[in-house]
């Protein structure tokens, strides 16, 4: 009964040809597909903001007291941006597939994880500033 729901194709093929996926699926209302596309674009903007932040750290921060800390912060932000972009396209493809098959939309812990990572980074920076001011 569910044989048509199993997608054994390589991930890259799934990303590039989500419309090929469903053996039993149907083309969803295009408005749903466009909403999925706008969600993808919002994640890409999040990724681009992280990339811009990483580049700005490398270019506009003075050298920090700990060697290579500035470069480390910059590369961490750049890598985070790359992960967000990859996850954006994967989530877009899986959502498109779920809509075609009429199954539940994919659930994701990623937004919560990203929020915690960003919050942790902010707390560390606040701590660094406070330590620098009072010690």
């Amino acid at each position: 009964m569910f044989t048509g729901l199993v997608d054994n194709r390589p991930v890259l093929d799934r990303w590039f040809n989500p419309q090929k996926t469903p053996v039993v699926g149907e083309k969803p209302d295009y408005r749903f597909s466009l909403a999925n596309e706008r969600t993808f674009l919002a994640w890409i903007r999040t990724a681009l903001a992280l990339l811009a932040g990483g580049l700005a750290c490398a270019q506009f921060l003075p050298p920090l007291q700990i060697a290579y800390l500035r470069e480390g912060i910059a590369i961490a932000l750049l890598l985070l941006g790359g992960v967000v972009a990859l996850r954006a396209v994967d989530h877009w493809a899986r959502t498109e597939r779920a809509m075609r098959l009429g199954t539940d939309l994919p659930k994701s812990r990623f937004p919560a994880v990203l929020a915690l990572v960003v919050a942790l980074g902010a707390v560390l920076l606040v701590a660094a500033v406070v330590i620098k001011v009072f010690w």
């Binding site: 993808f40 990339l51 811009a52 990483g54 490398a58 910059a74 590369i75």
Partner: protein, 100 residues
């Protein structure tokens, strides 16, 4: 029914434009080191790749805008994946720039 119920095609086209503006900021930041004194060959190369990638992103957005103007709008598919791939490419360009 109106040609574009809920204006979803128009909203999607504007989302592509916003994203393109964000990409412009990233590309300019990636190209900036090439315009500082003492820039090396690697910095020039990274700037050239960044501006080329930016041109590719703009091209993809235009292509998608044409697809969205059709009635009904055509699906995005490869344009979307290519856009994400180039965004990941900026991660690599940026990391190279930081390590140079």
């Amino acid at each position: 029914m109106s040609p574009d119920p809920g204006a979803s095609a128009e909203r999607t086209r504007m989302a592509w434009r916003r994203t393109g503006l964000s990409a412009t900021a990233v590309a300019l930041l990636a190209a900036r080191p090439a315009f500082t004194p003492g820039a090396g060959a690697g910095t020039y190369l990274a700037a050239a790749v960044a501006l080329g990638s930016w041109a590719a992103l703009v091209g993809l957005a235009y292509r998608r805008a044409r697809g969205l103007a059709a009635a009904p709008p055509r699906p995005g598919q490869r344009t979307i994946t290519a856009y994400a791939a180039i965004t990941v490419g900026f991660t690599i360009i940026g990391t190279v720039l930081v390590l140079l």
